[in-house]
Amino acid sequence: MKAFSNFHPVVIFIYFIAVFSVSMFIQNPVYLFISMTGSFLFLCVLNTIKTTIISFLKYIPFTVLITILNPLFSHNGATPLFFINDNAFTLEALIYGSVLALMILCVIFWFKCFNIIFNSEKILFLFGKISPKISLIFSMALHFIPNFSKYFNEVLSVQKKMKSNSKLKLYINCFSAVITHSFETSVDTADSMSARGHSTGKVTNFGRFRFKTNDFILLISIITLIILTYIAIVADNTKVVYYPVIIFSNSGISAFISYISFAVLCFLPGIYEIKEDLKWKYSISKI
């Protein structure tokens, strides 16, 4: 059930850049709150609701810590609540701290979704054309890692029976064996690559991604929504000033449009997943 990951990698990547650019750059609590709920919904659909709530609860001490730490480090702001060693603990700094905490939480949650949706295959597809050599190294390393771990466990189980060293020494000995083994096999790999004509021509990439009509529709809607969002931001209609006094400017219809379009952008993948899920269940129930 990851319907959203079936879109073209370029489109998904643009989507995440669009969401991150607002959730990381813009320190307006309305955007951050929208973005937070959007990522929460998306993660609930990708994982289960229970694990998402548990991971959310885990971050609460962290957010409280950031909120409290900010006024301790920065003493800007016009309304002091109390003084610690002649340094003011201000209301503005406290509020700014909570906004920062919300922002960090947002980014962490969006990155959780990003990790699930954007696997190494998509990264390779995206950067394979730009940088063929590095993506080749990348994919080879991804292939070697499980092999090495497996080989290490084999060596370790033998070594454990043979002699009892200290744990660190034992591990390092086995690791050394893995290194020797990996160098020997690497020559075979390299030679067979050369034999098949590597470094004689252009490296092509296998990708099973095709740019379909759906991708085009999604791309257009992402671009429209993000432009609508940014119109108000660029015009300073949704600007929030924290120091010395909090000024929350929410002027006019453009701010409203901006909030709405950002909300649509954030809730898009979650709603899309739910829709696809319902469609699937409906088609099963028909059989």
Binding site: F73, I134, M140, I145, Y171, S176, S186
Partner: protein, 225 residues
């Protein structure tokens, strides 16, 4: 040669200078994102120069192997907390195959291991931190091999470089600008972990450098890399 030196100076100095001046000049704005972008840009010259150079297939495979080993090392040594061979392997690669290979191994190990341990906005910083550790090791390669004291000093320093870069990141991320008191506080709180990292680097290098070096030397002669 001059071109090369200018490029190295640009890579080593420009980026930290931009990050620091930017955060001092505009303290009220969020520079976390800008620093992430800068760090990504800092890695680009290395990738470009590697991409443009002619490299043999064997060198490519060796870099892939070293990257895979350092990522697998992070799993393999998971029963022993704090002892991770990543930095040591990056340094060894850099010493035997040059600073560029060192940078690539460090940077790619960071990206790939974060596929297992979780990507985040810290990934570019980890890439840069490990990459630069490898890069400097490559520049000092002959001294590290000849002089044991320099080897010990550098392996201790590498832990400090890594945590220095990551502390800058922590400060920028949690404050939105470069707050010196916060930076000092986070450096102090991370000091014990930095010390453990440095010592584990040292232990790994002391144990691994000679045997792996022997293998690599034999390997280089046998297959002509």
């Amino acid at each position: 040669m001059l071109n090369k030196i200018i490029r190295y100076i640009f890579i080593l100095c420009a980026v930290p200078v931009i990050i620091l001046t930017g955060s001092f000049l505009f303290p009220e704005k969020s520079y976390a994102v800008i620093s992430v972008l800068l760090v990504i840009f800092a890695c680009i010259p290395f990738f470009i120069s590697f991409e443009n150079k002619k490299t043999s297939t064997r060198t490519l495979v060796i870099i892939a192997i070293m990257t895979a080993l350092s990522v697998a090392g992070r799993f393999i040594f998971s029963p022993i907390p704090f002892f991770k061979p990543v930095t040591a392997l990056v340094i060894i690669t850099a010493v035997y195959f040059g600073s560029e290979a060192g940078f690539l191994t460090g940077a790619l190990s960071a990206v790939i291991s974060n596929f297992y341990f979780g990507q985040g906005p810290w990934t570019p910083f980890q890439m840069f931190a490990w990459g630069i550790v490898g890069f400097i090791a490559g520049l000092l390669s002959s001294q590290i091999l000849k002089n044991k004291i320099i080897m010990i000093l550098y392996s201790l320093l590498s832990g400090v470089i890594y945590s220095f870069v990551m502390d800058i990141w922590t400060t920028l991320w949690s404050d939105g600008y470069f707050n010196l008191t916060r930076f000092l506080a986070s450096s102090v709180t991370s000091a014990p972990i930095t010390a453990i990292y440095s010592i584990s680097n040292l232990i790994f290098l002391l144990i691994l450098l000679k045997p792996i070096g022997k293998k690599l030397d034999r390997f280089k002669i046998k297959y002509g890399i």
